[in-house]
Amino acid sequence: MPDYTEKNTKITFNNLLKDYKIYAPVKQPGAGRLSSTDLITYDYVSSLAEIVFDEKTYFSPKAVLFPTRETMYVSRETMYVSKNGSLTDSLEKTEQEIPITILFLRSCDIHALKVLDTMFLKNGNFEDPYYKKRRENIRIFLLECPEAFETCFCVSMNTNQTQDYSVFLKKEKNGYSVKVQDQEFAKYFPDNVTEEVEPRFCQKDSPSEKTKVTIPKNIDTEIFKHPLWDEYSARCIACGRCNTSCPTCTCFSVQSVPDKDEPGVMNRKRIWSSCQIEDFSRLAGDHKFRKSVGDRMRYKVLHKVHDFEKRNGFSMCVGCGRCDDVCPEYISMQKSIHKINEVTAQEMK
């Protein structure tokens, strides 16, 4: 029996919406990549009915914390050469834009937040203030995964389970059951909770994947020269979709863009960047590193399953499989990890 009827849950949800913004998986009809398909993605919702509980999103939820484009500074001086040229940081604006937001996340994406936190709040002991402002205003509601979706390998990556959430809201046949772990939300779910419901976490990777994904350890630069990367040079078109769909990619570029409304004002924006694009490493004087697409694939895959872990102690890839879902060339992250393991095993012999 659900704790709440459909009707009561709607009332609760509307109460939450008075105090919070809610960002959750939604269906955008007709917006899919292929004609007549829908796009499942993250967006702000205004009703409970909009939330899609049982499908994987195409994009990750990271944009709520790390927007695709974000103004870091505003320059109002046309003549920056003057002694009084000035830059005003846009943190106050960031604060206004981000009311406390409830994020509906699956276990893998909750684990991905740890990667974002590590990069933006810890790496090099510098804090990114734009991220921090947003992060402080995030509350997490868990979405359960009784079974893995196609291309998922969270069980292999140990991200299939989590306790890091405020509320678990389970959709049942005739209503919803609730587990509240955070007192901040107790008042929204008054005492008619009869028994606490436990979330189900999948215990097997995607049914189409027969081999468990093993995270390779202690990779040296020998593998950089291996022909396994040549295949990616031939297949990958360096579009960077894997980066834009990934919940843990955090690289950004910085651009100055003229303000649309105020002539003469320049906004210094940061914008998502992709290591799969040739210009990612371009230096003044046009020197580039990783000219071949295969080398860029190697750079990305080894970061996800090896380099980040070596620096921070836990794997960057959470096994959500979105990079596989979005790849127009059907390149599989899992298969590339398998190949790395095969090659390193051969080298050991």
Binding site: M72, Y73, S75, E77, T78, Y80, V81, S82, K83, N84, G85, S86, L87, D89, L91, M119, F120, N123, G124, F126, E127, D128, P129, K132, D220, T221, F224, T250, C251, F252, S253, V254, Q255, S256, M266, R268, R270, S273, C275, F280, S281, R282, L283, A284, G285, H287, F289, R290, D295, Y299, L302, H303, D307, F308, K310, R311
Partner: protein
Amino acid sequence: MENSYNSKPAKILNITKHTQVEWSFLLETTIEYTPGQFVFVSLPHVSEIPITISGFRKNAIEITVRNVGTVTSELFKLKVGDAIYYRGPYGELFPLDQYDNEHLLLIAGGSGMAAVKSLVEYYLEYSLKNNKPKLKKLDLVVGFRTPKHVLYAKELKKWGKNSDVIVTVDKHEDEDESWLGGVGFVVDFIKDIQDLGRNSRVVVVGPPVMMTNTVRELLSYNIQEKNIWLSFERHMKCGIGKCGHCRIRDKYVCLDGPVFNYIEAKSLID
């Protein structure tokens, strides 16, 4: 909360024009003597870029800039007295304590000279005045493309009085007959260094190919890997370990470099 990306204004105190496209700007700051580090230079209406600190003065630093891009071309429109913005300094500096009382060989190619220059000045000027440990011997090998591309010509001449300085160019045209330096790559001049031995300390800064070839040659002279240091140049957007562009394997050039000991650097393959 202090914004890690905040820049401060700094007045331009002097501009030195080495070539048409390579100028040094002296900026009023309180940055301490930290050879090897870099700053992020920012023009509010344009953008910001990482630049090595090429020299330190009392309450000032010098940056040497080549006019090649959006920010640098705007920078070249500025005059003495104008203000630019900067943040930093960032990155690891050269491990000066490991050079005390040792033979130090500095090898630089092109704009790599900027990073090396701050080290030369440290030993030939700063450490003398401030009673800091000295070197046993300082050697400098610098290479430029042609005589027209030579940076810090005046300084190189001055330093030559107190230490061994070899200046070479890759090639020179007929009209450069007045050229008195060497012709060839820096790597070809390592054989001319006196007293080069196992314990010599060597710093190599320049384009990637030049650094690879130079280190290979140095190792053939039995120089120990642990006694070689390189300074890396990579694309950067933040300087504080966030933007991800300068990452090589598990290292960030902005945080863990730009100066790397060769033992570490040899496995840093992009």
